[in-house]
Symmetry: C2
Subunit: 211 residues, 2 copies
Amino acid sequence: MAHWKKALVIANGPLPSRRRIAGWLDEETLIVCADGGANRARARALIPHLVIGDLDSITPGTAAALAGVETIRVEDQENTDLEKVLDYLLAHGITAAVVLGATGRRPDHTLANFSILAKYHSRLDLLFVDSWCRMEIIDRPVQLDLAPGTTLSMLPLGRCEGVTTGGLAYPLVHQVLEPGVRESISNRVSKSPVEISLTVGKLLLFIVDKK
Amino acid sequence: MAHWKKALVIANGPLPSRRRIAGWLDEETLIVCADGGANRARARALIPHLVIGDLDSITPGTAAALAGVETIRVEDQENTDLEKVLDYLLAHGITAAVVLGATGRRPDHTLANFSILAKYHSRLDLLFVDSWCRMEIIDRPVQLDLAPGTTLSMLPLGRCEGVTTGGLAYPLVHQVLEPGVRESISNRVSKSPVEISLTVGKLLLFIVDKK
């Protein structure tokens, strides 16, 4: 696996357009489907290098179409197919991944996948992408190169303290953000680079590409 | 407004099927659209009693089709169209509402709407419904009448302590649930009534109707 530097992971939710997916593909990218994600990949005419999961969600049509693709069956009721894929990446020295299809289907799964993002982000350079947004966890000071006018939301996963921003139209200065109490929705980049820092907690950052 | 006992609120996300919506309609139900929710209602051939919002998302076609419907323009950048509707309900003594279309579009909006659910649930008997799930906030002991076999998830909005359940296949006993740390996904009703209690925090409960 040594030549793969990063991975594109296809989970079992709706995928972005082929054009948007193409932006995340290059020759150094391992394409891995999490179980039923294989059906989604097939619908986008995308052939993965690998399928991982308990393999209970792959349709017969997908199984036939991907008969030549390596599949790894992992039985473990304690973690999800997406976690099985991320564990595999970590075990094989791949430390950056873009995950498609992690949002937009069952809303409890979307929220659970955000929890997975929070659980793995310290070990993997991890980004979720869907038709609307790019999503990542922020828990230390970051500088982001974003075009002025870009819409951006910050949702706290649990209580976040000391949230301070630079380069945003509605700046935050030592704010507390907390689920069900206060969050920052549809803020706007006024000046690049955007700076975000916080002292306690994990922020889920959404960079909005389509409104 | 005195004869309305409850409300069906149409937000601007994808709506469930007409058949599923019909289950939430009766003659005591005020139908209110939050701004662009009017376009969604029209696509389901549903005529609201009222449209509320800053009215910047209604298409000309919808405006024409709903020309006879009372509309209330509320300008306030500090809260969303959904909050404007819920404030209106509270101001008019309506204390129960089902909200459709609050999930499944921009994922930051979905999360922000869950925050709104948490902000309003103590004043409104509030339920979100989409094609997959019914969603509500639990922050005190509840008993729920649910058919054995029903799938159910509990996602903490912030840290939840002392979470204890009865009637579930995977019981929780004085558990801590926390975003990005531990949650309860796809648990199953083993025996009705289901009992859920917690000592600290707010749980977002998902009753899954379609997998």
